[in-house]
């Protein structure tokens, strides 16, 4: 099949719409991946112990899951439509290369939706043990969905599995495209992020309630279960993040240069913290000598490729955004690690959640912090890949739908999602305040 050439168009509106709807959906998607695990854990403990607090948590979390999953499912649907409506050039030419993980994800999403229906509406129709088991496929398929979707994004970063000759795609190996070099670290990083967003996010709701004086067993469990899970995963995430960054160093050196604000190729490159990039160099950053070479190559004298290694037209335009997003994400990650360590220390000392209000305040903020870190990570990887939609294969400007008027779609998306955000938050607050144990 010959590669179809789209008329080159301004991709800013399309990029804004895609970025906005993805950034919105990904929060719901995280809960879709992580929350089923929490719900079935609480239901399982409730069945095992007969403890009313667990049973109540399971019931109430299931209701919240129902809302989050529904909104997540439909906000995910528009993304598949947008892939065609906005990125016709990408999908026409490379849809077949990247389609397989999406097709498998479709199956996984089917399983999620089917068992979610059975689980949410089956409390009174199924024996308790069968009901509990009917929740497991939701969790498993959610993890699988996340894996397969991120496979597709990983391919955009490190495209493999196809041959182009004379302007035609002559050979496709869809399995090689799916299992590309970025697949391992990127999927692991995102799945852990989803579980952490869920864990810290749910715990933060109960932390706020406890700050308001509700310190019964129900609230303590509501805080402790998700927080423990998230705290255990945080150090794992930091190791996986390091793996992902070294993958970027190997396969996307220009992105790494943007993440670090490294203007020119340097031997013994310093690790630059914060600052801003302007006029071709980084200003006001803290430098740790040889730090970047050591982190990226495990060798203090290793050469790290700078932005100047590629022509200006192949460099990401928003270096400051990429650099600061990356640094902030890492900072938040270490902040969450400290929070987990605080919990672990207190638990080891006296089998108790730290009693100080400062701990609850920190947990209360951790949910938003985890979401922020996850979004900042996506900004890093997506903005850092610019100007490419498929790294060194297809430019964003050549992938976009050239039809006029696309920007109106973006305005409408912003308007609809603004309303949806307000209502979703109101509904979740309502679910959080009705039916409290008295």
């Amino acid at each position: 099949m010959a590669l179809a050439a789209a008329r080159v168009a301004d991709p800013v509106a399309a990029r804004s719409q895609m970025g906005f709807s993805l950034a919105w959906h990904i929060i719901l998607a995280c809960f879709g991946v992580g929350f089923p695990g929490l719900v079935i854990f609480a239901e399982w403990r409730g069945l095992r112990t007969g403890d009313a607090a667990y049973r109540l948590l399971a019931r109430r979390w299931a209701k919240v899951l129902g809302v989050l999953f529904a909104v997540g499912a439909v906000s995910g649907t528009i993304l598949s439509v947008e892939l065609g409506v906005l990125w016709s050039g990408l999908m026409t030419n490379y849809g077949q290369v990247i389609g397989l993980p999406f097709a498998i994800e479709g199956i996984a999403f089917f399983i999620e939706a089917i068992f979610l229906g059975i689980y949410l509406y089956g409390w009174d129709r199924l024996p308790p043990k069968v009901h509990l088991l009917s929740g497991l496929p939701i969790f498993a398929a959610g993890l699988a969905s996340a894996f397969f979707v991120v496979c597709a994004n990983a391919w955009m970063n490190t495209p493999t599995g196809f041959t182009v000759s004379h302007g035609r795609i002559t050979h496709v190996d869809p399995w090689a495209a799916m299992f590309n070099p970025a697949t391992g670290p990127e999927t692991a990083h995102m799945i852990l992020a989803a579980l952490m967003v869920t864990g810290f996010g749910v715990a933060s709701v109960y932390a706020v309630a406890m700050l308001r004086g509700r310190r019964d067993r129900y609230h303590r469990l509501g805080l402790l279960i998700p927080l423990t899970g998230a705290a255990i995963l945080t150090p794992v995430q930091i190791v996986v993040g390091d793996w992902a960054a070294r993958m970027v160093a190997t396969y996307q050196p220009t992105k790494l240069a943007a993440m670090e604000g490294l203007a020119s190729t340097t031997k013994g490159a310093p690790e630059a913290l914060f600052g801003y990039f302007s006029g071709g160099r980084l200003h006001d950053a803290l430098h740790i000598p040889d730090g970047l070479s050591l982190l990226a190559r495990l060798n203090p004298h290793a050469a790290i490729q700078g932005l100047d290694a590629v022509p200006a037209s192949d460099r990401p335009p928003l270096v400051t955004l990429v650099h600061l997003s990356f640094d902030l994400m890492v900072s938040i990650g270490f902040g969450l690690l400290a929070l987990g360590a605080w919990l672990a220390w207190s638990w080891w000392r006296g089998r108790e959640v730290p009693r100080t209000a400062w701990f609850l305040r920190a947990v209360g903020v951790s949910g938003i912090a985890a979401v922020a870190a996850m979004e900042l990570g996506w900004i890093t990887t997506e903005v850092g890949r610019q100007p490419w939609i498929v790294y060194r294969v297809l430019r964003v400007a050549n992938a976009v739908n050239p039809e006029p008027g696309i920007q109106y779609g973006f305005y409408a998306v912003v308007a609809i999602y603004a309303v949806l955000t307000v209502i979703t938050i109101a509904v979740l607050r309502r679910l959080a305040t009705t039916g409290q144990p008295t």
Partner: protein, 338 residues
């Protein structure tokens, strides 16, 4: 059968399932819209909520399935359709968002005005979405989408008599399927007045669907000659099956054989979709893009068919369990009020 034809058939099975299951969910929203005031329509709305609540998310996945199979197996078709028809597709996607969210939200609120607002959003978007999806299909059927990226006219491609007619037909067919299914559900719930209401609606919508489809043939004759010719030649047996199944469904509804009427109603809709497919086979977009010409490389077709085959082993029993579970009366108590 070539691999490309096999995957095209799989995609069309997805379209059929989306029409039969997802379509009925849209149609249920249509009946929610016209159920009347908050008190008068309460029983109908409760039945609708009870019927589609457990299954609509699974039914909705068929749409994603179709999109994914299309861009994997026939990327040139997906690129051409979604670039030229970006306006109706974007509006349909907005409808999907509003409908799903509003339906989920409505269950969580108790104040009448809130239920009414979410209900209105759910119901209105249940009409808007099938209209724009139907218009999209009509644009393809009427050959208004040329191959290539953004090669067609962004408005005239779908805002023309044939496409608007298919949009209306989609809305009416969804309403018809929903009314037939809901009549059987109403009988299982044991509410005779609900049965009578939905039976009347099913009969009315069935007649309307037949009328729009027949009128549609005249539109096609005037404006989509290739499809018209195909429907009256290669597609003719299926057109006849559809018409016959439609008439039999009306008779069964009239005689109150509701469960059998479900099957014949579904058959009527299935036969129309496959008649369309037969009529324009092997063209995907006319003129110039055939199934073979748009198909992905062989390796992709094999991998996709194998994956979907393995997936079907998981999906078919799961879906069957879902439908059977909620077609049985609940052991404990009646469905909670919305």
């Amino acid at each position: 059968m070539s691999l490309a034809n096999a995957l095209a058939a799989v995609m069309w099975i997805g379209v059929t399932c989306y029409a039969l299951f997802g379509g009925a969910d849209f149609g249920a929203g249509f009946w929610d819209l016209v159920a009347g005031g908050a008190r008068r329509g309460a029983a109908q709305r409760r039945l609708i909520e009870h019927s589609i609540g457990p299954v609509w998310e699974a039914n909705h996945v068929w749409l994603i399935f179709v999109l994914v199979v299309m861009w994997t197996g026939f990327p040139a078709l997906f690129g051409a359709v979604s670039s030229t028809l970006w306006i109706p597709l974007t509006l349909a996607a907005f409808g999907v968002i509003v409908r799903g969210s509003a339906f989920a939200f409505r269950k969580t609120v108790t104040a009448t005005w809130q239920q009414r607002s979410f209900g209105a959003a759910f119901a209105a978007s249940s009409v808007i979405t099938p209209f724009f999806l139907g218009a999209t299909a009509g644009a393809v059927a009427a050959r208004r989408v040329p191959p290539g990226i953004g090669a067609g006219r962004p408005v005239a491609s779908w805002w023309n008599p044939v496409s608007v007619m298919t949009g209306v037909l989609a809305v009416v067919v969804c309403a018809y399927l929903a009314a037939v299914y809901l009549t059987a559900d109403a009988r299982r719930s044991g509410d005779a007045s609900l049965v009578a209401q939905f039976r009347g609606r099913a009969l009315g919508a069935g007649v309307a669907a037949g009328a729009v489809a027949a009128a549609g043939l005249l539109f096609l004759h005037a404006d989509a000659a290739a499809l018209y010719h195909g429907l009256l030649h290669r597609g003719l047996p299926l057109v006849i099956i559809s018409a016959a199944a439609g008439v039999v469904s009306l008779a069964l509804l009239f005689r109150s054989y509701f469960r059998t009427a479900r099957l014949t109603a579904a058959l009527a809709v299935t036969a129309v979709l496959w008649a369309w497919a037969a009529a324009q086979y092997p063209d995907l977009l006319g003129p110039g893009l055939t199934i073979g010409g748009a198909a992905a490389n062989r390796s992709v077709l094999v991998a996709t068919l194998v994956s979907l085959g393995v997936g079907a082993v998981l999906l078919v029993p799961s879906l069957s369990w879902l439908y059977i579970l909620f077609q049985r009366p609940s052991q404990s108590r009646p469905p909670p009020a919305a």
